[in-house]
């Protein structure tokens, strides 16, 4: 579904991604882990068109997507829930979710997906008329995930959905990711919480200073000495 070959990208003169390659197949959950500043967020930004690709190739659903604007990629089903939630703080919860469905023109489908989001996160239904900025951190993260679901993603990029959340809420978010995956959404998950991410994912990539260090089945990475020492704190 997604194929990245020797991708290079950065900010101005600073190259952050120094030729990374990865693939995500239809139906998979793939996780990308790595230390702070490794370039995980930059990778996702490059995939979703926020950061310009300066070398290599990215294909999504068989098409080269280098240079395709971010808003067009959403239309094609590549949806990115960014790091730090980025909720519209003065729009209501409901309006935030409507914005998620911005590219869609099927009112019935949108209504069904809205009902689904409210079913997965009942608290959002309760708070639907409240401004997004007044939600707690955990609720905002649920809203960010819900909002991304409203776009009907085929491939969902999630950047640190567990950041700064209480264990119970993290567990809830991960449960929802699993549910989404079951319903046919392909997922690329960036996480600090490497253990949880590797338990959830089929495959994983380990990233270090702009390059892919390791790529393997998630279960194998959980057993890998380097990974255990560096990312699982063992």
């Amino acid at each position: 579904m997604l194929r990245v070959e020797q991708a290079r990208a950065g900010y101005g003169a600073v190259e952050v991604l120094r030729g990374i390659s990865l693939t995500v197949d239809e139906g998979e959950i793939v996780t990308l882990i790595g230390a702070n500043g490794a370039g995980k967020t930059t990778t996702l930004h490059t995939l979703s068109g926020l950061v310009q690709l300066t070398g290599g190739r990215i294909t999504f659903l068989g098409e080269n997507i280098a240079g395709v604007p971010a808003h067009e990629l959403v239309r094609r089903g590549l949806v990115h829930a960014p790091e730090g939630r980025k909720i519209f703080s003065r729009l209501t919860v409901l309006e935030n979710l409507e914005m998620g469905a911005y590219t869609r023109r099927d009112p019935d489908g949108i209504a069904r997906d809205l009902a689904r989001v409210f079913e997965l996160f009942p608290i959002l239904a309760e708070r639907r008329r409240q401004a997004g900025g007044t939600l707690s951190g955990g609720e905002q993260q649920m809203l960010a995930v819900g909002r991304a679901m409203m776009a009907r993603p085929r491939l969902l990029l999630l950047d640190e959905p567990s950041l700064g959340l209480a264990p119970l809420i993290v567990a809830r978010i991960f449960e929802v990711i699993r549910e989404l995956s079951k319903s046919g959404v392909t997922i690329l998950l960036v996480e600090q919480n490497a253990r949880m991410a590797l338990r959830l994912a089929h495959r994983g990539y380990v990233m270090e200073t702009g390059a892919i260090l390791l790529a393997d089945a998630a279960s194998a990475l959980l057993e890998n000495e380097t990974v255990r020492a560096a990312y699982l704190g063992e």
């Binding site: 960014p82 914005m99 998620g100 951190g137 776009a151």
Partner: protein, 316 residues
Amino acid sequence: MLTLAQQLWIGLTNGMVFALIALGYTMVYGILELINFAHGDLFMLASFLALTLVGLLGLATASGPVVVVGLLGVVLACAIFAALINRTVDRVVYRPLRNAPKLAPLVSAIGVSFVFQNLGLFWGGLPLDVMGGGLAAAAPKSFPDLIPSTNLLGDGAAFRITAKDLVVIGSSLCVMVALWLFVTRSRLGKAMRATAQNPLAARLMGIDVDRVISATFLIGGALAGFAAVIYGLYVNTIKFQDGYQNGLYAFTAAVLGGIGNIPGAVVGGLVIGIVRALSDQYIGAQWQQAVVFGMLIALLVFRPQGLLGANVREKV
């Protein structure tokens, strides 16, 4: 007491014009964090177009129904004219500077403001009857008094309400309500608010931010075009510096209400109109600017986010 009420009424009527111009400042600022210094001068250019069209259509000597239809046409033409110019300036001048330091588009906006003022001066010098035959380009031009300003309460009444006042207030309110419905109900309007709050997230929702910015300039321009006609009809004289003066008041109104905040711009405009009128009456017309800007400074000290400015913090 009656004097006070009368000044409030006059202030309210004047304030409508400030509010309409302030909306253009605040909407653009909301999305680009750009103070579009040329906005007031755009308003002035539209007022020159209004006067030119009124002259060409001969509305000054036309009968009632013709005046009504003619004015609707003039409003439409001025709104479209200002909308298109505003969007074009964005495309040509501001868009290439989107990723430049904030100071660059700001300085460019000041440049555009001067260009517009000079265009106004040129326009004022055209050999047209309404421009005074082109003899004195910089001189104030008189705008025909097309709407009756007889007192609706009767000639001798102590309080004055004219048909003109009602047209200014009524039509401005209609435009404001329409704008409000647009930004709160329509898909594009919601996209506008979303983009103003978080442009990065807006792009990730599939919103074409460039399109939203263009729409914002179109709408802000149209409001200025509409305000220009209203202003000409109400004040009955226009000049090429009007954009600078009214723009400054309108910008103050936008800051007063909380820059970036749409209802805030309206509230700010009305407050400025009323404060100006009261200050003229009770303090003296020569103190007008000192009072208005003194109030702005005081407000910025005690309530920097403006009257209705957003106070919602983003949680990290």
